[in-house]
């Protein structure tokens, strides 16, 4: 059995644009879920609104497609009602950081036994490319036509500061690492947060000089900085180049978790 058996074959092909990284992240997540050996009846996929949140509809398991930003609130309810269920939340950056920011912080604080996969495409893709809280400085979008002037959110640091048990960040280029990170997140009791940076050729790429999908993936590859290397650079007093983002397992700890089946 491979992760392909977790897809609803009759719903494919999905509606994502050509070259969208969301499909890759769903593949990696399902491969990790498959390795856990969970039954389809005991796994629930919850998602909010947005491109990334279409994901739960393509998966052959129980799923909840909920209101904008409230995926974590619904997932908390599912987990509290039945602690035996395995809950995986798919969410996007606009869903999680913008409208659902409050739910996100408090889900981290409560340390509920969820796994959250955030597909961060750094823009609101579905509604026409508006700037989101994670749009990098200077990037163009339909609401920031002269370049984004606001500093972006670092979701991983936010999750770590709010108290999540497991935090890691990878991109859609690092498929094997992402798969391992999701698996580690699924194994961890308590809140685990995996941020996956994805390419968005339609809304983000065409305004920001990544018209080809491969250019954007190459940008993700070349601008990712491994955590070990980052720590080494700080130790040596080197300057971290601007525009780089840290990838790797950022936090792993063992705070008391809520909703773990005794």
């Amino acid at each position: 059995m491979s992760f392909e058996d977790w897809y609803r074959q009759d719903r494919l092909p999905h509606i994502f644009c050509a070259g969208c990284g969301n499909g890759t992240v769903i593949n990696c997540t399902l491969a990790a879920v498959e390795q856990m050996g969970w039954k389809q009846e005991e796994t629930i996929f919850v998602s909010g609104i947005g491109c990334s949140s279409r994901a739960s509809g393509y998966i052959l398991a129980d799923s909840l497609h909920t209101t904008h930003g409230r995926a974590l609130a619904f997932a908390t309810g599912v987990k509290m009602a039945n602690k035996g269920l395995h809950v995986v939340v798919f969410t996007g950056d606009g869903d999680l950081a913008a409208i659902g920011g409050n739910h996100f912080i408090h889900a981290c604080r409560r340390n509920i036994d969820l796994t959250v996969v955030c597909m961060n495409n750094q823009i609101y893709g579905m509604t026409g490319g508006q700037g989101s809280p994670t749009t990098p400085l200077g990037c163009l979008s339909s609401t920031t036509p002269y370049g984004c002037a606001e500093p972006p959110f670092d979701l991983c640091e936010l999750a770590a500061a709010a108290g999540a048990n497991y935090v890691s960040r990878w991109t859609s280029y690092h498929v094997k690492e992402l798969e391992k990170a999701v698996k580690a997140g699924l194994e961890t009791p308590g809140f685990s947060f995996i941020e996956a940076l994805v390419q968005c050729p339609t809304a983000f790429g065409r305004r920001n000089k990544f018209k080809q999908v491969a250019d954007h993936v190459e940008h993700l590859r070349s601008h990712s900085l491994l955590k070990a290397k980052r720590d080494r650079m700080i130790e040596n007093g080197e300057q971290i180049p601007a525009g780089m983002f840290v990838v790797g397992e950022l936090t792993r700890r063992n705070r008391p978790a809520m909703g773990v089946k005794p």
């Binding site: 491979s2 050509a18 070259g19 990284g21 499909g23 890759t24 990696c28 498929v175 999908v213």
Partner: protein, 90 residues
């Protein structure tokens, strides 16, 4: 095992041409039913998973399948007694 591309699902992003370590996928000219040029296979018998999957009894490499955002790449078993080429590596 042999590689297969699902023509109905492929959207022509050509990410598979970038990730394969053997460069098996090539940008193709043939259009599918939706008018999207789908990638071609260049000597697919070199694929590590095709050659050694049954010997090792587990998935090898598989980066193209994980990366394909449209779930278009998969492996299928050969027919019994189907002739196939053997890759020689130097």
């Amino acid at each position: 095992m042999k590689l297969a591309i699902d023509e109905n699902r492929c959207k022509g992003c050509n990410l598979c041409t970038k990730v394969c370590p053997y460069k098996i996928f090539k940008e193709g000219k043939k259009l599918n039913r939706k008018g999207v040029p789908i990638p071609e296979l260049d000597r697919p018998e070199r694929c590590a998973n095709c050659r050694l999957r049954n010997l090792y009894g587990r998935q090898l490499c598989g980066v193209c399948q994980l990366t394909c955002p449209d779930q278009a790449i998969h492996w299928i078993d050969e027919e019994p007694y189907e002739p196939h080429k053997v890759a020689i590596e130097y």
